[in-house]
Symmetry: C2
Subunit: 195 residues, 2 copies
């Protein structure tokens, strides 16, 4: 066989593992806007996450107006909102009409608390941040829930309904910084067989 | 330029996006064991997730003994535990000695509830499932928290300390089924500008 004339094929599995390992929080962005296609790619990644009994309790508010973003800022931890060309606010429905997981499939649905919404929406957030990193974008997970001083502001500014809760605001843009990813591997966190 | 003699180089970004889009729950596995290297790769992916103020509140219990796995099974939703060659139990420390996020950097740390542990551990779960899929393995997210009838059994069987909570059990193995990934893209879940 002849040697290849262009960049060697990268193993797709290694590309995924490297992307997970090298993702890190990006808090400063250039002025470049995200395209609509880029935003849709990020949202598709979010909606590909698994959810408990496939309820997909999420909603995504996309903010690209820096004046609105500035009104969502509540302090030092999220002062980057107005600098980011795009905020994706990942929200969850806190109630559901689905039947309980422990009832028969034909049981009548009733409105009840959906205890899994923060878990499901967290998986969506991680998918979005991983997709952003793969696309050469950068983002950071800033918490709303469970901090009333943050989520009440976000709900008010964005008109989020009573039974929907913003879990996190993800500012995303083209990176204007290149911090080294943290090495968080700690073998002492692994318990083999039992604790 | 000459055409390449082997498989064209795949775009690493597309490999990541495709991996997110095609991951789906795998609930049946062959008898093939996971290697120690594969398990470490999965755990490294988990520990690469972001955590609130970088607390890394997670622990991971690795169960490869099907007799132990069978004792963790509590019903229909997790009946696959004993079939899986490996369970990764993702746990979180429910308290922390870190200072509160809204106090000065030199404030005295005190033990307090860590409200973010389910969120942080959910990001770790998603990383592990994405890594497994990339590696040709398959897994499924089965909830422990917030269901006492599940997490109390898992805590008892694995000897998990009082202030640590198992969020999820991830059975992982070589797939013995090939279900089509769900298409969960719903444009009506996107709210542009505000709700």
């Amino acid at each position: 066989m002849m040697s290849c004339c262009h960049t060697p094929a990268q193993d797709p599995a290694q590309a995924v593992l490297d992307n997970i390992a090298t993702r890190t929080s990006i808090r400063h962005y250039t002025d470049e806007r995200l395209t609509d296609a880029e935003i849709e790619t990020l949202l598709r990644a979010g909606m590909a996450a698994p959810t408990a009994i496939n309820l997909q309790p999420w909603h995504f508010v996309v903010v690209t107006d820096s004046a609105v973003a500035a009104r969502m800022t509540t302090g030092r931890v999220n002062r980057m909102y107005a600098e980011a060309p795009c905020l994706i606010v990942v929200c969850g429905e806190t109630t559901t009409m689905a039947r309980r997981h422990d009832t028969p499939a034909d049981a009548e649905p009733v409105e009840r608390d959906n205890l899994n919404w923060p878990i499901d929406c967290s998986a969506a957030c991680e998918n979005i941040l991983l997709a952003a990193h793969a696309m050469g974008l950068g983002g950071v997970w800033t918490a709303c829930y469970p901090y009333p001083e943050r989520y009440e502001v976000v709900k008010e500014v964005l008109g989020i309904p009573e039974k929907v809760m913003p879990l996190a605001v993800l500012p995303i843009g083209h990176p204007a910084e290149a911090p080294a990813p943290k090495d968080k591997w700690k073998p002492e966190k692994v318990h083999t067989g039992r604790w």
